[in-house]
Amino acid sequence: MIEINNIYKTYYVPHEVRALVDVSNSIKAGEVVVVIGPSGSGKSTFLRCLNRLETADHGQILVDGVDIFDPKTDINKVRAEMGMVFQSFNLFPHQTILGNVCLAQKLVRKRGKKEREEKAMMILEKVGIAEKALAHPSNLSGGQQQRVAIARALAMDPKIMLFDEPTSALDPEMIGEVLDVMKALAKEGMTMVCVTHEMGFAREVGDRVIFMDEGRIVEEGTPEHFFTAPTHARTKLFLKQIL
């Protein structure tokens, strides 16, 4: 479903950082991939390249066979098929919860009012927040906001979901409610790429774990392999630090 071939990304401002170095991977439909690694290892950059929020300097990414860095590609079409959830929620503060979940459906999917509102309510129900449909984001807790952000992405019927540390900004007691939604999604067969430090999540629903360090994929494998028999010294050290 996603083919990543030898991508490189270097930032020059404020100083030179090699954020991605020769990264290749292949993500299959229905797979749940968990990306872990120390801060600054390039996890976010990797994820953001997948829907071209960042452009790689070299290399190729094919999403469903479409080369997303090709200037001729209509990137908005590709992005419509990929939901993204951010650490900082990024809900639209000037819209209600319902408005947040409906806006892209209207502008991108061109759905009628009735259709998009029914869809929105159905998904809000699913993430357990339907009763807040008419509230504004600022009146919701962090966990609720993040569930709305997930609902907003799901309302577009994406084929792939990208998560960039969705629980890192949450108070501990709210992490569970968000992870539950993500787990349910994984069990429904959604293709997911998750950058997260939630090892329990990785073990329970992850099909594959990728460990990144200094812009490279250092090691990858099943969660079982990963948490019981990591081979690289860097991986061992990292796991020792966070577990």
Binding site: N51, L53, N76, K77, V78, R79, A80, M82, G83, M84, F86, S88, N90, L91, F92, P93, H94, L103, A104, L107, V108, H136, A149, R152, A153, M156, L162
Partner: protein
């Protein structure tokens, strides 16, 4: 709404506060008193009672007989009377209010006689017309200024060189020269050229007001560009990423996500800009547009009521700008509630 106090006033005690309020009132009396005293000293004749006619007046109309003749008939017509004068050259009819004459049928008249004397219909005075022109020009220029400012502001933050550089050039060129000079260029350079070209093609000239509106809109637009840019740049980049990652285009993101949120930060400086616009419109008198300031000047040349008219002129501007700033405060409260 809860009243916010500045740090300075929070420190002061109630007595000091009361003294300071009294001081303010005393100061105001002092200022007004000294102005009054100064005008008495130079023996200025205040004639405020003559001022209302600059807003509304009833012209006095006197009709004179031009040739020898005779009142042929008086035909009442509702509250008016038609006077028919039969002269050597034929009949002449005058429709005048009842009671504005004292002729009877058969009276003979000769040149110089007064046929009738009465008050005409109410008409807007000089200042009323000037006020209206100022309001109209400011309103239209505000609309165009906002449009230019939004288009320019969106262009200013774009990555496309033609858009970005055009916006930068526009802003720098316009902000870099006096408005008065720009008005002159619009009227005497652009206006003269345009009118010549129009005339060659048999199209009527453009009213000077439109050149004035162009100059004001383009001038204000340049400042609005910078205001809009600052408003856009204040929006968290995560908002753009959330919108774009859902597949929205650059412009969808701009008009549905960025600009509605930027409005809150844009409104206060925008209000200041449009208050400036109202005041700057006073320069348009230089290209013979009879706005409030020019109307005041004209009023003074005929009546010599210099003090009253200039003070009144200032008060009228103050009323307009104050109303505008109240309106914007109301809008701000409404957007804040959302």
């Amino acid at each position: 709404m809860e009243q916010k106090k500045s740090n300075i006033s929070r420190l002061s005690n109630p007595t000091a506060h009361a003294v300071s309020v009294a001081g303010f009132i005393a100061l105001m009396f002092l200022v007004i008193g000294s102005v009054y005293y100064a005008t008495v000293a130079v023996e200025y004749q205040w004639r405020w009672f003559k001022i209302p006619q600059y807003f509304m007046y009833q012209p006095s109309i006197t009709l004179y007989v031009e040739a020898d003749g005779e009142i042929a008939s008086l035909n009442p017509n509702k509250d008016k009377v038609e006077i028919v004068i039969q002269g050597e050259e034929g009949e002449k009819k005058f429709l005048v209010p009842a009671g504005s004459f004292h002729w009877d049928e058969g009276d003979s008249v000769s040149p110089g006689d007064i046929i009738a004397q009465y008050k005409g219909e109410w008409k807007p005075g000089l200042l009323a017309i000037g006020l209206w022109v100022t309001l109209k020009i400011s309103f239209i220029s505000t609309i165009f200024g906002i449009l230019l400012g939004i288009i320019g502001g969106v262009a200013r933050v774009s990555d496309t060189p033609i858009l970005k550089w055009t916006a930068i050039t526009y802003v720098e060129v316009i902000r870099g020269s006096p408005l008065l000079v720009q008005i002159m260029i619009f009227y005497f350079v652009l206006g003269t050229t345009m009118n010549k070209i129009l005339m060659m093609n048999g199209i009527p000239k453009i009213n000077p007001e439109w050149y004035g509106i162009m100059a004001l809109s383009i001038f204000t637009g340049a400042y609005v560009v910078e205001i809009v840019r600052a408003g856009i740049e204040a929006i968290h980049p995560g908002q753009v990423e959330a919108a774009r990652s859902a597949g929205m285009s650059y412009f969808q993101c701009m008009f549905h996500i960025i600009l509605p949120q930027a409005l809150k930060t844009i409104l206060p400086p925008l209000a200041g800009q449009f208050i400036n616009l109202i005041k700057d419109s006073s320069l348009l008198g230089m290209i013979s547009i009879r706005e409030l300031t020019k109307a005041t000047r004209e009023g003074i040349t005929t009546s010599l009521q210099t003090f009253e008219l200039w003070i009144l002129c200032a008060i009228l501007y103050l009323l307009m700008t104050f109303t505008l700033s109240m309106f914007v405060q109301y809008l701000e409260r409404r957007t804040a509630q959302k």
